[in-house]
Amino acid sequence: MTPATADADLLAAAAVGDEEAFAHLVERHGGAVLRYAESLVGSGVGAAEDVLQETFLAAWSAAARFRGEAGARGWLLAITRQKAMRHFRRRAGEPDHLTSLAELGEAAGWAVEEDPADRALRRLDLQAALAALAVEDREILLLRDVEGLSGEEVAALLGLGLAAMKSRLHRARLRLMAAMTPRLKGGTHGA
């Protein structure tokens, strides 16, 4: 068992009780699982650690059923989401789809002429901007752009069609930009 051993091989070993192999998986993917759990349930009062533990305990029990189509990280993140739902009650309804694309763009600085140097001075830290987003936006950005899952993997994980996932992702990206340029929100144009 080496650090380069493939995830599928580690899971196959874990399926027959190899705790060392499973520990390698925890080491390799635990950070991503914990970060995703924190994005869903927050980082306080141990909730994210609870989700992490429940995720890996479930993965340990289900290791023999891993088929590898989505990759081990995508599989683990899907389990993470299932476990996080017990801790996190999602808001009713869909994210803010009623907001027009133009309004989202304007909030993100799309419609405002400004000296780029001024804007650079005002940009918030990326982590602070992510933390300020609604959980649905933070989640899809983390899965697609930070963890690098494919569009198809993210769509499957979130239970969305590919087109709906892309629409939600685009809006989340614009809302991230809006969160990074808070003082631009008042600017509009006549489009």
Partner: protein, 88 residues
């Protein structure tokens, strides 16, 4: 100062805004990409916003390395695992 939206190469500024994610994700055809490039080349506003959009995604993707699980968290997890047999 308000921007005056325009139609260039058959695309409005809002068309470009709507498809920026597809553009940066490489999900537009060569023809569509050329059409968007023609618009952006003639629209400073879309050029600037598109660059900022791409730069924001670059910064987000640079976050890729998740910090490892804290040692004590990993130890608590593995302690719970000890003695549990996987279900096959």
């Amino acid at each position: 100062m308000a921007h005056e939206p325009k139609v260039v190469a058959g695309l409005s500024c809002l068309d470009v805004l709507a498809r920026l994610s597809e553009l940066v994700d490489g999900e537009v055809s060569a023809d569509e990409r050329a059409q968007m490039a023609a618009h952006v080349a003639a629209c400073d506003w879309c050029d600037r916003f598109g660059r900022e959009f791409a730069a924001t995604l670059d910064a987000l993707r640079a976050e890729a390395a998740a910090p490892p699980v804290p040692t004590e968290v990993g130890e608590r997890l593995l302690a719970r695992l000890a003695g549990q047999a996987p279900r096959v």
